[in-house]
Every structure is written in C-alpha cells, then in structure tokens.
Point group: C2
Chain length 734, copies 2
C-alpha cells in the first residue's frame, strides 16, 4: 500500500475534528427564552424519534443483506457493506444533531445580530458538510488499509467461488473491487431510506399544515396553534438535513469507487493485447504498470482530500469573515474559492504523479459542468430570471394554467442540463475513456463538503424562522431569519444542480464499472471491452443464438426507463396519503377542542408527529424494495447484457424526470413567493391562490421525488455491480 | 412483380368505394332546423378554413423537402414522398368532411331515434376509417407497381450516388427501400402537422371556452352565448378527427414499410455467410430466395388487406345490426370480430405461402398486445374501475392533491403497458428477429380501419351534442347524444392503447430498418448485423479510435431522451398561450357587448375561430422543426451510430411520457365526470371544483401531447431512415 494514503487519512481526521469543533462552538451558544427551548426540544425529540425508528428499520434490512453477502461471498464483503451503511447513518445523525442544536441558537442570535445568526446557522451546516465528506473519506481509507491485501497489484486476480460447493453455481470477481462496491452499496441503501422516508415525512407534514392552517383556518405559517407546525419543522431536519447528507455522502462514495473498480479490472487485464489499446486511451502518460497502478488507485482519494481541504478553508473564510453586509457575496465567493482550490490541489497531484495531465482536465470539467448545471437550475427556478416571473404572470389565469405552465417549464428546462451532461460525457471520454467519465463525476463531487454545508444552512435558517414564530418573538427576528434563508438560495440552487449532474455521472461510472466486471469476468479473463452500450450487446456470433440477447437489451431499456416513473408515483402517493391522514387529525383537533384556535389550549403536536413518522416509515418500504430487488431479479432472469440495458434505461429516464421534477417544483414555489412579494396582485389575489396550489403540487416533486431519483439510479447500479457475478450472461431460458 | 398484388389493390378500391357509399348515405340524411344548419355551417367552414390554411403551410414545407430529396437522390424518391404527404392530407380532409356532414345529421336523427343517430354517427366514422386504411394501402400498391423495377430481386442492389459530382460526398442506398421510406416520411410529416396544429387548436379553444364560460360566467358547455363555442366544436373536428386520421395512417404505413425495407436489405445481403444465420432466425420455413422474397415483400400488403376487409365486414355488421339496445356490446363485438377475421385471413395467407407459421404468431401477438394495452388504458382511466374512482375521492382534498394524484396515477400506469411492450418485443424477436418485431407492429395496426371508425365516431357524437345545445333543441336530444358519446368510450380507450403500443413497435421497426440500412451500406456490402443497440456500437477496433464512438452513443441516448420533454413543453405552451389570448377576446366580447349574455346579440364566433387557428398554425411550427431537423443535424455531426442512440433514447422517453400523459389526462377528465354523476358531493361541490382544475391540466396532456409524441418518434426515425446514407459513420470531428 502506498504511503500517500496518509494524506487522505490525515485530512479526513482534520475534517472530523473541525466538525467536532464547529459543533462545540454551536452548542456553546445560548438557546434563548424558555418557550424557544421548549419548541427546540420538541423538534429535536421529534427528529430523533423518527431517525431512530428509521434506523431500526434500516438496521434490520442492512443486517439481512449483510448476511446474504456473507453467505454468497466472503466476510470482508459483508463488513465493508456494514461500514458503508453505518457511516451513512452516522452522517445523517451527526448533521441532524447539529442542525437541531443550531436552529434555536440561530433564532436567539437573530434577536441581536444578523451576522451572528448567519454564523451560527452556517456553523451548523458546516458540521454536516465536514462530517459527510470526512466520514466518507475516512471509511474509504479504512477499507483500503484494512483490506490492503486485496488491492496489492502482485496478488490482484479474478477469483472464482462455488456457491454451496456446487460447481455450476460459480461466481467470478476481483475481491478488492467487490469490497469497495459493497461499501458503496451500504451507503446508497441507507441514503435511499433516508431520502425517501425523510422526503415523505417532510412534505406530508408541510402539505397538511398548509392545507388546514393556511387554506382552511387562515392562520400563518408556523403558527403555534397549528397542531402540525412542529411536525413540519421536524420534517425540515429529517428530510432536508438528514436525507441530504446521506444522499451526497452516497454520491461522493459512488463516484470514487467507480474509479477504483475500473482501475482494478483494467490492471488485471493489462496483459491482453486489446486492453492495451484501451489503456492508451485513458490518457495516462506513463501507461499502467505496477507503480502507476498505485497512483491511479490513490488518485481519487488524493483529489477528494484536496476538495475536502478546500471546503474547510472556505468554511473558515465564511466563519471568520468580518463583513457585515453582502453575505450572499461571501457565500458565493467561498463556493468559488473551494472550487478553485480543489483545482489547484488536483494540479499539484497531477504534477507530482507520473499519470499526466488528463486527470486534471477531467476534474476541472466536472467542476465546470456542475457549476453550469447549477446555474441552469437557478435560471429556471429563481425569481430573478424570466421563466419563474413568467410563470407567476400565468398564475393570474388560474391554478390549472399555473400548474400546466409549471410542468412545461420543468420539461423545457431539461434541455441545457442534458446538453451539458452529454457534452461533458463526450469530452471526458475523449480525455480518458470510461475512467475519464468516472474522474469527471468525482471532480464534480470533490468539494461536496462545501455544497452540503450551504445546503444544510438553508433548513437551519428555515427552522430558526419557525421557532421565532412559534415562540412569538418580535417580527424583526423572523425578518432576519427569512433574510438568512433567502441569501442561501442561490448557492443552494447550485447545490441542487450538482446533485443531479453528479448523480448522472456517478451512475454512468457505476454502470461502466458493472459492464467491465460483469462481462470481464464472464470468461475468467478480462475481455476487450466496448464502451457501455457497446458492451451490452458486444457478443456476436454469426452462428445464431447469442444474437437474440439484443431483444432482451431493448426490453431491458424499456423496463428500466419505466422504473423511475413507478417509483416516483409511489413517492407522490406516499406523501399525499400520509398528508390526507394528517389533515383529518388536524381538523379533528381544531373541531374537538375550539380552545386551540383561541390560544387557550395547546394542540397535540405529538400525535401529528407520530402520524407523519408512521406514514414516512410505512411508505418508504415499497420504493426501497423496488430499488433493491428489480436489478437483482431482472439480472437473475435475463442476464448481464439485458441488465446493462435496464440500468441505462433507468438512468436516461431518471435524469429527465429528476430535472423536470426539481425545476417544476422549484419554479412553482418561487413563483408563489414572487407573487407574495406584491407582484400580480400580491397576497390574497387570485394569482396567489393559483400560486399556492402550484406550490403544493410542486413540493413533493422537488423535495421528495427529484432527490430520491438521484439515489435510485446509483443504488440500482451499485447493486448490479455487487451482484453481477451471480447473474447468468444470457437470459436463463435461452 | 407478383400477381398477388391484385388482392390488396382490389381491397383498397373496395374500401374506398365503401367509404364513398357510406359518405353518400350520410349526406342523404336531413340536417334538421335552420338553426342547426346554421351552426353546422359555421363548424364546417371553420374547420375547412383551418385545414386549408394548415394545408398551405404543409404544402410549402412538403414542396421544399421534396425538392431537397430530388436534388440529393432521384426524382422517384421525391415523388414517393409527395404521394405519401398528399394521401395523408387527403385522409384528414375526407374524414373531416364526413364528420362535419355527420354531426348535424346525427343531432337531427337523435330527435327521433337513438338507433338512427348511432347509425349516422358511426357511418361518418366509417368513412374516415375506410379512407385512412384504403388510401394508405392504395398508395403503397401504387408505389410498388409504379416503381416495380426497384423491387425486382434480379436487379436489387446497393447503389452509390455522388452528390454534385463530388466523389467524397457519395451516398449508398437501395433505391426501392428509399422510395417506400420517403413515402412513409411524407405521411408522417403531414400527420405531425395535423396532430400538433389540430391538438393545439382543439385544446386552446376548449380551455378558453371553459375558463370564461363555465368558471367566470357560469354558463353551461356549448352555450351559444359563449363566443368560443363554435371554435371548441371546430376543434373536435380538426384535432380529434383530422389529426387522428393522419396519425393512424402514418403508423399504419410506417409499420408496413419497415418490413419491406428490412426484407430488401436482408435479401441483398443473403450471399454473406453471417446474414444466413440471421435469415434462419427469421423463422421463414423456406429461407430467403428469389421466390420467397416476393412472398415476404407481399406479406404485409396481404395481411393489412385482410385487416381492412375485416374492418369493412365489422362496419357493415354495426350498420345493419337490428338491435335496439346494448349498442356498446355491438361495438365491442364488432371490434373483436374484426380482430378475429384479421387473424383468420393471416392464417389463410400463411397457409398458402411457403414462409411458415411464425408470421401468423407475430400478427396474433400484435393483435393481442394491442388489445391488452388498450384494456390497461381503460382500467386506469375509466370510472368503472378503482384508480379513477380513487382519484375522484382524492379530489375532495382540493385541486393540488387532485392534480398530484392524477400525475401519480399516470406514472404508475406505465407499468403494465411497458411490460406488455417489452414482452411482445422479446417474443416477436424470438419468433422472427427484427423482422418479427416489424410484423408484430403491423399486426397491431392491421385492422386500423375499425379503430379509426370507432375513434372518429366519438367526436361526431360530441359535436352532435354541441349542435343540440347551440340550436336549443329539447334536452332529451342532448341526453341521447351524450349516451351516444359514452358508449363509444370503452372502444375508444382500446383505440388509444393501440395508438401508443403500435407507435412504440412501429418506431422500433423503423429504427431497426435504419440500423440495417445505415450500417449495411456503410462499406457498400451488407455486413452481418447486430440487433439494434448492438448495431449502434458494433464497431470495435482494438487499435483505438472507433471505440470512442461509444461515448457519442451515450450522449445520443441522453439527448434523444430529452427531445420528447422539450417537444411536449412547447406543445403545452402552445395550448396555454393560445388559450390565454382567446380568453382575453372572450372576456372583451362579454364586456363590450352585454347583450351577448342576455341573448339579444350574437357573439362574434368568427374572431374566436380565427384567433385559435392563428395560434394553432403559429405554434405548430417550432415543434415540427424540432422533429424534422434534430435527427438530421445530429446525424450529420455525430454520425450514424450516435444517431441510433439518439433515436432509441427518444423512443424510450416518448413511450413513458405518452402513456403518462394519456392516462393522467384521461383519468382526471373522467374523475371529474364521475363527480358530476353525483359522487363525493356532485356538481358545484369542492371536489368538483378540484376535478375541473384537474381536467383542465390533463386536457392538453391527453389530447395534444400524448398523441403528438406517438408521431414524433416515428417521424424522427423515418427521417433518419431516409437521410441515413448522407450521414458519416462516425462523428465528423473524429
């Protein structure tokens, strides 16, 4: 094992220590009045109750899958899987813990100073950002060091294991590749649960609170009389904080391990003449031998360590910035700063390594593509630009036109991001083949620490506003927290673009790794490989039979493209059904106890929290089962080529749907806000009523469906990667 | 040329003569009161004005493209293209002519007898059904006979033409294949204009009429005081009649010509050893030689002639049925009858031919899959089943929940149809390779005459109801026409399923034909071909460069999958923007002339008609340009392999979106109707208000976007097929 691994190890420890310090600095602040403490206590305990219950469900699932991995493969695989899932859960918990500490403290700070409030909120976000990136990197270092034997180039080989001693049930794999894949799979599985469960929770509570509170009872957002107010605020933490953290941790790991898996398979096959052509195409100046192998292996760890280090610098810049005004500029500067420093550290790595400069190009391409996609999201969803303003104008023609236009906006907004992703795919492929695509994905995610920090800062500020209203603080406090919230929006839009763009790239990397390993091990030698779709049907025998597999690939593409639709439908229904039950409960409370409305009695918040939690946990199961089982069942029946088609189909469909849902929902939300600012009649106008309906339609699309789709495609791909060796090459009945 | 061609020739003439007789029987009926004649006159002239204006736009476009085809290839190609487009326009005109004759006559018949009304309406539909299938078949026979030289097996070969005499700009093709492809392209292009232009027209008028009439002025549907009422009724004719006819004509031709094109390329390549393996796989008992070639060539013409004959029998069965009650049963029986007779005539063909029985299996598979997909559409959108009733129940929670649920319903409804399409793809492939897939598409469409007749019958009944209300006839007349409308719904739902299923299959057939010809002619010999996706990246050279094309295929898949979204967005916007202008106009008329509301003055219908027509013509242009130019530009820059990816991506995306849009819209429409029947509070309840909003959102999805997507994928595929030989093999800059 190369000594360079010390660098990512040190940086991950540094990040985790910094996270601890940031957390301590937050906890040291005062929490304000008793009422604030009380509200914060409710939110914290509600969030923890849900996350613990969710962890129980996940824990059981993880143990069962871990046991299956042990039986099928080796204990190392199961252990790596467990490490991945535990770290992912930990990331969610640490972030949520910090966020629920920071919320009331942000409110309290906002009573005296805007700048202090921002500092507390951003410190809370930083804890999450540093934990996500630090834990992911630390976990990878641990896996690499503990299982170093399986990465040693001298002993790297494709091994065969006969299941239950039956010779016809042999599976072929490179153990080191399987270990990192299982690690990634653990993180993905937990992320899906977190995103789907948390996403359903947060939107069901939000919808129900708005529907009864705003529409029926005409009381404002976060009014303490509304029994669902606390549940709504809990939702911000479990969905937007916990779910987001696990999500980006998973993307980050997926992007890194697809580089490692491909490197292992290319190295093992390097003796093959055709593979040598491929190696030249990777753009590695020194080719691939036992020395450069280590450089390729360590490259992703070094580059993301650089990204993590830059994120830390950017956070410190924000934390200790002396500026009182123009904090939005500070946030943007910090984001740019971390991107630039990441590029510089990558430059340093490429300069020191014998691998040449193509990797630098790929990483910079990833950073640039991510920022571009982020800007496009902002363009389509921000009230500063034409599309959302135009949508607000159309809201004047009523809710039907508003919703229809919102959908059209989301559909048309797929154009620029997809062109960017396609162009980046082609360019990175020219720079370094499929490995180049994986490096680009990794580049996009390398400064994930900063992205997560900014994205988490938003819900903390949101919660702080909720506490201000619930604790009946003077209106200027709420105004300050609202301003806090709004200045994070631009950077948060960029973060969303990153999430979608990187999901597409990471999934492409994982599918590529799947095809390498699935077809590569088929004949116990690594065969010359075709690029992805080529690989899917590269088999060709003029004599007859195998050509038939082509129809199965087409069937796989179609079925794969269908899965994201069914998955999305289940999520939407999860939200609306849970919300419907909650609406009944809120109405019942207002009806049975009129003193709640007059403020003489306290609403039963706990019951609302428990109903929402039950809904979230209950409705997250079927979508998760679909994500886990469809690739396995499909692969077992139809074989590896057809499964390749299935994954590509799912990827294509999910990219479009995720962009459509994210931007439709975002624009409808902001169009409503734009109207509330006084345009087209302002609050209580007809346009506003239409805007509120559009917002409610768009909310589950942007906060539940979109982000979950990002995970779905990566989880399905990594599951295919782990179980690849179990699947037949061709359909079983052929 | 085989003498058997006399059979399809005779049957197409028989169909056209029957259409003429049906039309005469309709025109012979009385039109009722003066007011009815007046209203019918407005509708007829409005529809003709729009269709003629549309024909002018199409005519210019068609002439330009025809000239380009002549310059690039030969005059035969341009002539075939013109024949295809003229026949497609003719089908639209004949159907619309019959429908606008039949509407008032149906109303008049409904004044005395329900049975007579049905007979008139269905005769009107039959004119359209027989014209569509008869013209398509006649056109194919003409093309085959006039250009018979280019189908003669003795002289069949791949030829090269040097463009402008420049040797490096050579194009390779089989001229006979290009002729039928151009014929199909002409039909597709006109169909797209008809569907998009008519679709925008009909929904813009519908939305605007409802928004001002029902919502603001509280006057009923089709009230003569509403200035947009006539435009709304014109829309039913230009969208649902004209658009539908051109659409199915185009599917029908596409499915037939993909069989012929593939047969030509396989035959030319039969000397190649690898192709012989493929020929065995086609399941043709006698293999492929100069005799069986003619049988394969004639097979699609014979089978659809059988389907057309069965449709005619089924129509006569309905026309002369003596039953007074249970007409829904009669319609269903007739549909089943025509399917069974089509299977029987195919059986007869297979029995007489030396080709074996696999073709029979493929045709029956097509019929069965079409009926199954139709049933699934019905299940998800009919008020007789749970999903739509459940949606109506959710409408009680307000418009946001209703729309969200409607979207979820549409998304989840993709499951069964896509599984059916995937399974049918695999089975037909096993039966006869890609040629088997094309035969299955053709089987699904073979009794298109009957499908079109039933689908056209609906808008005629709808129009008849409009005339009854506008001419202020007694309410029982309207009740009878409403009943007429509703009994066609079940069969119409099956028709919609056929449209989507057959579009997917026909596009698959066309893409397959594209890959055969694009890669086949690349080296001036037909190479052994891989199935579709395999073909896309079948090139493989261990030495380096060509492998890069893989990334372009992926980029093509992504960009292709994006096109249907952007296309759909433009259509939705076309509807909402046109509708918004119309809303202003209606409001203006009511405001400036209060006598319109009191019935003392007549509204200015003509202005509304001209605004809607202008919107439809204006907004149809950009989507059409996208459909025509994207495959050409993409192919010219990125080459044939990448274009294959682009087409597959578009197909995958369009199938899901079309099913989603169709079923979401259908269910939201029917949920509203279910509430109007008195469920969940009935008319004027909150659930009803939500249902109306859902219906308005769903209308453009189901009647404009869904059907246009069906054409989009076929048009793009057939354009690729025609221009294939112009494109480079690999990206130009590689």
């Amino acid at each position: 094992m190369t000594v360079l691994i010390v660098i990512p190890a040190v940086i991950s420890v540094l990040a985790l220590v910094s996270a601890f310090l940031f957390n301590r600095s937050v906890v040291a602040k005062a929490r304000g009045t008793d009422r604030m403490k009380e509200v914060q206590g409710y939110i914290r305990s509600g969030a923890f109750t849900f996350m613990l219950e969710e962890a129980r469900v996940m824990g059981i699932t993880v143990l069962i899958i871990g046991a299956i991995l042990w039986v099928l493969f080796y204990w190392e695989i199961a252990v790596a899987f467990l490490i991945g899932s535990i770290l992912s859960m930990a990331a969610g918990f640490i972030g949520m813990n910090a966020a629920t500490h920071a919320n009331a403290r942000t409110t309290h700070a906002a009573r005296t100073s805007f700048k202090d409030a921002l500092s507390v909120a951003f410190s809370g976000g930083s804890v999450m950002g540093l934990s996500v990136a630090g834990l992911a990197l630390a976990g990878l270092v641990i896996v690499a060091v503990v299982f170093r034997k399986w990465y040693d180039p001298a002993s790297l080989h494709i091994e065969t294991r006969y299941l239950f001693g039956v010779k016809s049930l042999g599976v072929n794999f490179i153990r080191g590749a399987l270990i990192v894949s299982a690690y990634s799979m653990g993180a993905s599985l937990v992320a899906l649960f977190d995103r789907v469960g948390g996403g359903i929770y947060t939107k069901a509570a939000d919808m129900a609170a708005d529907m009864v509170g705003k529409v029926e009872m005409h009381i404002p957002e976060d009014d303490p009389r509304n029994p669902a107010t606390i549940a709504d605020n809990v939702g911000d933490n479990v969905g937007d904080v916990g779910g987001l953290g696990a999500d980006l941790l998973e993307s980050f790991i997926g992007a890194i391990i697809s580089v490692i898996v491909m490197a292992l398979y290319i190295f093992v096959g390097r003796g093959n003449e055709s593979i040598q052509g491929l190696i030249r195409q990777l753009g590695l100046t020194a080719g691939l031998n036992e020395t450069t192998y280590w450089w390729v292996f360590i490259a992703p760890l070094m580059i993301v360590a650089g990204g993590l280090f830059s994120s830390l610098l950017a956070m410190l810049y924000i934390r200790f910035s002396k500026r009182q005004e123009g904090m939005q500029q500070v946030l943007m500067n910090a984001t740019r700063l971390s991107a630039v420093i990441t590029a510089l550290t990558t430059f340093l790595f490429c300069w020191l390594s014998p691998l040449g400069w193509n990797i630098l190009g790929e990483v910079i391409l990833g950073l640039a593509a991510g920022i571009a996609i982020g800007f496009f999201s902002e363009y389509f969803t921000s009230t500063s630009y034409k599309p959302t303003r135009e949508l607000a104008r159309m809201d004047q023609d009523g809710p039907a036109v508003g919703v229809t236009e919102g959908m059209a906006l989301g559909m048309i907004s797929t154009f620029l991001p997809v062109v960017t992703i396609a162009a980046a795919t082609v360019i990175s492929y020219e720079l370094g083949g499929l490995l180049g695509v994986a490096f680009t994905a990794m580049g996009m995610l390398s400064f994930v620490g900063m992205t997560v920090a900014v994205d988490t800062y938003g819900p903390i500020a949101d919660n702080a506003g909720g506490i201000a209203t619930m604790a009946e603080l003077p209106p200027e406090v709420r105004e300050r927290t609202d301003k806090l919230d709004s200045i994070g929006n631009t950077t948060a839009a960029i973060g969303k673009g990153f999430a979608i763009g990187s999901a597409a790239f990471a999934a492409l990397g994982l599918i590529a790794a799947f095809m390498w390993s699935a077809i590569g091990t088929a004949d116990k030698v690594v065969q010359p490989q075709l690029p992805i779709v080529g690989q899917i049907a590269a088999q060709f025998s003029p004599s007859g039979s195998p050509i038939m597999v082509g129809a199965y690939v087409i069937a796989g593409l179609m079925l794969g493209a269908m899965v994201p639709y069914v998955f999305s439908a289940l999520l939407i229904r999860g939200v609306s059904r849970t919300s419907a039950i909650l609406v009944e409960e809120i109405r019942r409370q207002f009806k049975e106890n009129p003193k709640i409305m007059s403020g003489e009695a306290i609403a039963d918040h706990k019951r609302c929290i428990s109903i929402t939690a039950h809904g979230g946990l209950h409705k997250m199961f079927l979508p998760a089962v679909i994500a886990v089982l469809t690739p396995i069942v499909f692969g077992l029946i139809f074989g590896r080529y057809a499964l390749g088609g299935f994954l590509v189909g799912a990827l294509l469909s999910a990219i479009q749907l995720a962009i459509f849902c994210g931007n439709s929902g975002g624009a409808m939300d902001n169009a409503k806000k734009y109207i509330e600012e006084g345009h087209f009649g302002g609050k209580n106008s007809e346009a506003h009523a239409a805007g509120v309906i559009g917002d409610t339609v768009g909310d589950p699309l942007k906060d539940t469906v979109g982000p979950s789709l990002d995970i779905l495609i990566k989880l399905m791909s990594v599951i295919a990667l782990v179980f690849a060796s179990l699947f037949p090459i061709f359909p079983v009945f052929m």
